[in-house]
């Protein structure tokens, strides 16, 4: 017992260090393995399957075979070109509206509210997430109902005349028009705009505003030259988090619109679940994904924000 103890400590430490080195190198891979494997098998591989399915022909009974039938893409585009146009224009309008509506609220939470009120408002922004998306969307059917107070007010204020002229509504109705769908999309994705905006605004030192004021900047100039540029990462993140899900959405178009407001998502859903034409559904979803990836890449190049994750 006594013979081994004196020499032990200096030997044990370097040995332990030497043994832990290769182990440490492998640690991150062991940590990553299950999660990344899950995403590879259930996210990346399905994308490949989808690409291959879009090039198949056949029927559910006879089975599908890859025949490099590229014209599925062309047919899908011809049949659904207006769905694509509607998807991207509704999503774009909803994104702009979210920014216009969400910015003042994010600004109020970040700079105008006391600490106590800040938390209350943040809870009210997040809490709707916990009530089913569908139930809340259906509530808009009540709010925008024909002859209801909202439609009446819009009529008296001649807002409906303007939206009629823009082609967003027709006659005295808001339900079953593009306006209802855009309104639903704006509502549903507004928290995704407010939260990143708030995160980027919250970091701004209020003394910057004072400094701008001291240098004789008017409030609007301060906003344009100081606040808005600093909040740009939040604006970019918010617009992406709003635009991407909105362009793929089919719930708002289905519940609040009429068949003439249907978006690409409705097309994919119909082809996949009702018509059982999997190649067309796959082609549509592939085109949607490609268009979004292109738009997002161009937008991020222009906006120049790299660090998003």
């Amino acid at each position: 017992m006594t013979t081994t103890t004196p020499a032990a400590p200096p030997q044990v430490i370097p040995l332990a260090k030497a043994a832990s080195k290769p182990k440490r190198k492998l640690t991150p891979y062991w940590l990553l393995l299950p999660g990344i494997a899950w995403l590879v098998v259930f996210f990346a591989v399905p994308m490949v399957y989808q690409a291959s399915t879009s090039l198949q022909t056949g029927s559910l009974e006879a089975g599908f075979k890859v025949t490099w039938h590229v014209s599925t893409y062309w047919d899908a585009l011809v049949e659904y070109k207006w769905h694509f146009v509607r998807s991207f224009s509704y999503a774009a309008i909803a994104t702009v509206l979210c920014l216009v509506i969400g910015y003042p609220l994010a600004y109020t939470i970040a700079f105008k509210a006391s600490k106590r009120w800040r938390n209350v408002i943040l809870i009210l922004v997040i809490a709707p997430f916990f009530t089913s998306f569908l139930i809340r969307t259906l509530a808009w059917k009540t709010i925008l109902s024909d002859g209801g107070p909202v439609v009446g007010a819009l009529n008296t204020l001649h807002v409906l005349d303007v939206t009629n002229a823009l082609g967003l509504t027709s006659g005295d109705r808001v339900l079953a028009t593009p306006l209802a769908v855009v309104c639903g999309l704006t509502y549903n994705f507004l928290p995704f705009m407010i939260l990143p905006l708030y995160t980027s605004l919250e970091r701004i030192d209020p003394r910057l505003h004072e400094a701008a004021g001291d240098l004789y900047a008017r409030p609007f100039t301060t906003f344009r030259k100081v606040t808005f540029p600093i909040s740009l990462p939040g604006v970019v993140a918010g617009t992406l988090l709003t635009f991407i899900p909105a362009s793929g959405d089919y719930i708002n178009a289905q519940l609040l619109g009429s068949p003439s407001e249907q978006m690409v998502g409705n097309g994919i859903q119909k082809q996949f679940l009702n018509v059982l034409d999997y190649p067309t559904a796959a082609a549509l979803s592939f085109i949607l994904m490609a268009l979004i990836l292109v738009m997002v890449t161009v937008y991020m190049r222009k906006a120049g924000t790299e660090e998003l994750v």
């Binding site: 899950w38 609220l105 994750v309």
Partner: protein
């Protein structure tokens, strides 16, 4: 004059903010009000008569409470799965340098940057091709897949902001790596893990699009029940569940903040 102008402008922003808040909360108020309605027809869109029938008999509708319990089961399991897998990935990303880091980050980011319908249709295509029958398992697999990235983001942010000297201090005080992890690292990371888990639960419980493409005929989740009901006739009980969920969420958040404040006050 300019001071008045500034005053009005400052309050204009707050006013616009409050209007935005009203826009966000209005549907919840409508859901609450209409949970006390006694609709004239099958649909609960127009006010008819005050009634507490739906509140006293929340499970009075066929299949609704089964779908609710199915949704809760799936959300609980998906939360556990996504939180465990996501926390491991988050620790790897926050604490280790390794080859393939950029690819890993892209793999985590892509599911969040993809419209749900694309993921839904492609995963459904995989299950169809593999002849895996749609049902509980396929829904669970899909939910863990899309919740994972959100857990990684929440936990990674927390772990990155943690002070590494605390763990060094634990080791200096002869704590074993396991002890350090369980007694120091994990409690410090807990708020991030809890945030990720809560987000997963909410996302999974409320998911409709991915579930619709990957569920079987007998696995009707609560959102799928509401979707079906929106075509056939909506029972008032749906509003009761919606309101109860809203109140529970607000109560949980308020309680969480109160506990947090108390802990900060005593510490």
């Amino acid at each position: 004059m300019s001071r008045l102008f500034t005053w009005i402008r400052a309050h204009l922003v707050v006013l616009a903010g409050l209007l935005a808040l009203a826009y966000l909360v209005l549907p919840n108020l409508v859901v609450l009000a209409f949970s006390f309605n006694k609709p004239a027809g099958k649909f609960n869109y127009e006010w008819n008569q005050f009634s507490t029938d739906a509140w006293t008999n929340p499970c009075g509708v066929a299949d609704m409470c089964q779908s609710l319990s199915l949704s809760l089961q799936i959300a609980a399991l998906a939360t556990i799965g996504a939180t465990v897998l996501g926390t491991m990935v988050a620790f790897a990303l926050a604490r280790h340098r390794f080859r393939g880091r950029a690819a890993t980050t892209a793999m985590i980011f892509l599911p969040m940057a993809m419209p749900e319908v694309v993921m839904a249709a492609s995963l459904g295509t995989l299950f169809l091709n593999m002849r895996i029958p749609f049902g509980f398992t396929t829904i669970l697999i899909a939910h863990i897949m899309f919740c994972l990235s959100f857990v990684v983001t929440a936990v990674k942010a927390r772990v990155m902001s943690m002070d590494p000297t605390l763990e060094q201090a634990a080791q200096d005080l002869y704590a074993t790596p396991t002890q350090t992890f369980l007694r120091v690292t994990l409690p410090l990371a807990a708020p991030g893990i809890a945030a990720g888990a809560l987000l997963s639960f909410a996302l999974s419980f409320d998911d409709f699009i991915i579930t619709q493409f990957n569920s079987g005929p007998t696995t009707v989740t609560f959102p799928m029940f509401v979707w079906g009901a929106s075509q056939r006739g909506i029972p008032v009980q749906v509003n009761v569940i919606g309101t109860a969920m809203f109140i529970a969420a607000v109560a949980l958040t308020v309680a969480g903040q109160w506990l947090d404040n108390r802990r900060k006050a005593t510490a």
